[in-house]
Symmetry: C2
Subunit: 417 residues, 2 copies
């Protein structure tokens, strides 16, 4: 019988594993709980209305339509039974496998404060992006209706928690929206007076970057109008704002970009987990004692890899490809290969013509880094049409400061419902 490969999750890791198996003599089943592959590095653009959701999401079936050895199933894996080699789906259906690739990625972690989630949504899925978009644009709408200046100021204060790449991008975009996009559209206040505060527990923004680039990024953020608070730990979040030890920020809109935890599926395997619930894997990405199970992307933790593998798209793609190759090797009786992350550089965008980039020892910032970021992101967006639409949207936004996707879809529901 043709070996059955089951891939759970179709982000970068799962998708690249499936594609790398296109010529392999295997029957592949890809399971995802959405019908689309999401280009997560641009999700903040959907949250801030720069792009419509379809521009960064492609139906998984369409991407894999011509790969005849793949069946795509829309479903959610509930648990993995490594003893009987089965994945149990949400309706109780069991999928038997000969080889399994787990690629379910990461979710937000609130460091034990799950009650913060309702007041400070994270940014992992399209649903999250729509929720943040709605909160941001409705906050300005509420400010227009509010007569009390103190309450209005709370509607016009936006707090982003966590100054990693996503937090920096969110804060930069929020400042641009307030300063430029909404200019002249309100009658009772000036949106340029809105306050965007970026809070970070460490002593600099973009901690994975070198200190000189962190400083460049901070300066660029401040030039956009973002208030950067470093070395400040959040101690409380509620519907009225954020507590930072003795300090208080009255803010109706808070975005959480601070913590990442592994997908809960890892815990169902009954194997040892690392910090954040990630599955500890061998150098060849298999689970110790279970050579038929491989883990790729943010769900995997390689204790011996130095420096640690970052939680970025290129790492997930590289792991997905290697997992596919190792399956082919193992089925052919050849030895598997260890994973080694190839770092082609890191890019973080901040706003219009503002970014930082690190290619080995070469550090760039400002316009040049932004152009590199733009080129890389459009190049890697999957699907020709998407790239074209994204280009047009961005060219338009660059010249006009308009944002094309400002509509709030669940119009009838107000924020305080």
């Amino acid at each position: 019988m043709t070996p059955r490969v089951v891939i759970i999750g179709c982000g970068f890791g799962g998708l690249f594993a499936a594609r790398a198996l296109r010529r392999a003599p295997v029957d592949i089943t890809v399971v995802d709980r959405t019908n689309h592959h999401l280009f997560q590095p641009l999700l903040y653009q959907v949250a801030t209305a720069g792009l419509a959701a379809p521009a960064i999401a492609e139906p998984i079936r369409r991407i894999l339509a011509r790969q005849r050895n793949v069946t795509v199933l829309y479903g959610e894996a509930q648990r993995v039974d490594v003893a009987s080699r089965q994945v149990v789906l949400e309706n109780g259906e069991a999928l038997a496998y000969d080889r399994l690739i787990l690629a379910t990625g990461a979710t937000d972690s609130y460091f034990g404060h799950d009650e913060w989630r309702a007041h400070a949504p994270g940014l992992k899925t399209l649903e999250d992006a729509f929720e943040i978009r709605k909160r941001v644009f409705l906050a300005f709408e509420h400010a227009e209706r509010e007569v009390d200046p103190v309450k209005r100021a709370a509607w016009l204060t936006f707090v982003v928690i966590g100054a990693g790449a996503t937090g920096v991008e969110m804060a930069g975009m929020l400042a641009e929206i307030a300063r430029h996009t909404l200019r002249g559209e309100f009658r009772r206040f000036d949106p340029r007076n809105a306050r965007v505060v970026l809070v970070e527990a460490m002593d600099r923004v973009l901690p994975p970057y070198t200190p000189d680039l962190s400083e460049r990024a901070r300066l660029q953020l401040e030039r956009l109008g973002v208030t950067v608070w470093l070395g400040r730990k959040v101690t409380g979040i509620n519907a009225q704002g954020v507590q930072l030890g003795g300090d208080r920020l009255e803010a109706k809109t808070v975005v959480w970009c601070a913590g990442v935890a592994a997908s809960p599926l890892g815990a169902t395997l009954g194997v040892p987990l690392a910090r954040g619930g990630r599955i500890i894997v061998e150098p060849d990405l298999t689970v110790p004692g279970h050579p038929d199970v491989q883990v790729v992307g943010d769900l995997a933790f390689q204790p011996d890899h130095q420096p640690p593998v970052p939680g970025v798209a290129p790492a997930a793609k590289q792991m997905g490809r290697l997992a596919a190759r190792n399956i082919v090797s193992a089925l052919a009786g050849r030895p598997t290969r260890p994973f080694r992350y190839s770092d082609y550089g890191q890019l973080a965008t901040i706003g219009r013509s503002k970014a930082v980039a690190m290619f080995g020892r070469i550090h760039v910032w400002g316009w040049l880094a932004w152009f590199a970021w733009l080129t890389a992101h459009i190049y890697f967006l999957i699907g020709f049409r998407n790239r074209l639409v994204v280009l047009i949207d961005w060219a338009w936004a660059y010249w006009t400061f308009e944002r094309s996707a400002r509509i709030v879809d669940l119009g009838a529901r107000r924020r305080d419902d």
Copy 2:
């Protein structure tokens, strides 16, 4: 004091009234329960994933940003107090007016069977369009997971109820999706075997058109693969399908395009209403006995207008413009003018190169009508950028049969939840 004009609803009627008042010495407040003006004639394209929502929706504030005599408020009118000249909003806030324009439009009517709504959503708002998009594309996903052929057939049966313009468009698009868009993407069934049934209680499709064009439309629908059932009345709808007297259609996806009722705001005025809850108006669009209240668009009913004013965008625009003009006249002590609908023709599209059009006595169909429809709809789409994006999307879709917005956003929720 500058006269206060309040406009409730910013569809075609409300928006065109506001714009027509741009040079009038009045203070205008526009209230809408969404933040966007919706180009409703293309809503079926969002429901069938041909367009992303932002392509047909523009923030009301952006459209009216430069009109300094307008304040836009995001809110929902609960009732109108004609005696004290106030509109009460959802939070109890009262907006006083000197002149009021009611433009809240229409909603779906289930002819007294509100229990059908859950199983057969209508198509009036973006939220409706997302719901239908989700149901349609998830039905195919469920079919791929279903092993029982009878149950699978129910997932692959789509029923559109009502063969007016929207019903015809929906049925045509659903047939194209099954025949072309999804071709080759499933492994366990052929989407071309999906069944699309268009049910109409009258004896022909597109009843407002002449019988020859109705017949042309029916033939074009059947060529696309739509099964047209005429003279059939729906007697029941539940989660499993549709009852038509003694006949039964087992179908998991039903779309309601059959009945229209006026917005419930009309009933709060305490004036006589026509069939469907519409407000009976004088020839100059004012409410009898309340010359300071005007009604435009689908909420208005003019008993003496022959032929009756159709519920289409051009009629709402014309009424909005006249209402604005009559307010200016009345404030200046000049007489108001009666409304007279100017019919520039009617267009209904069916699918790729398929449409019917009626310009007075000139009737066209097929490619020519489709081209006229395309030109008119792109021309009237508000905002330059939208037109460009729509053009690109459609050109792409025309050549590839792909649909750009097939993503289902609330991915984690399955249909039977």
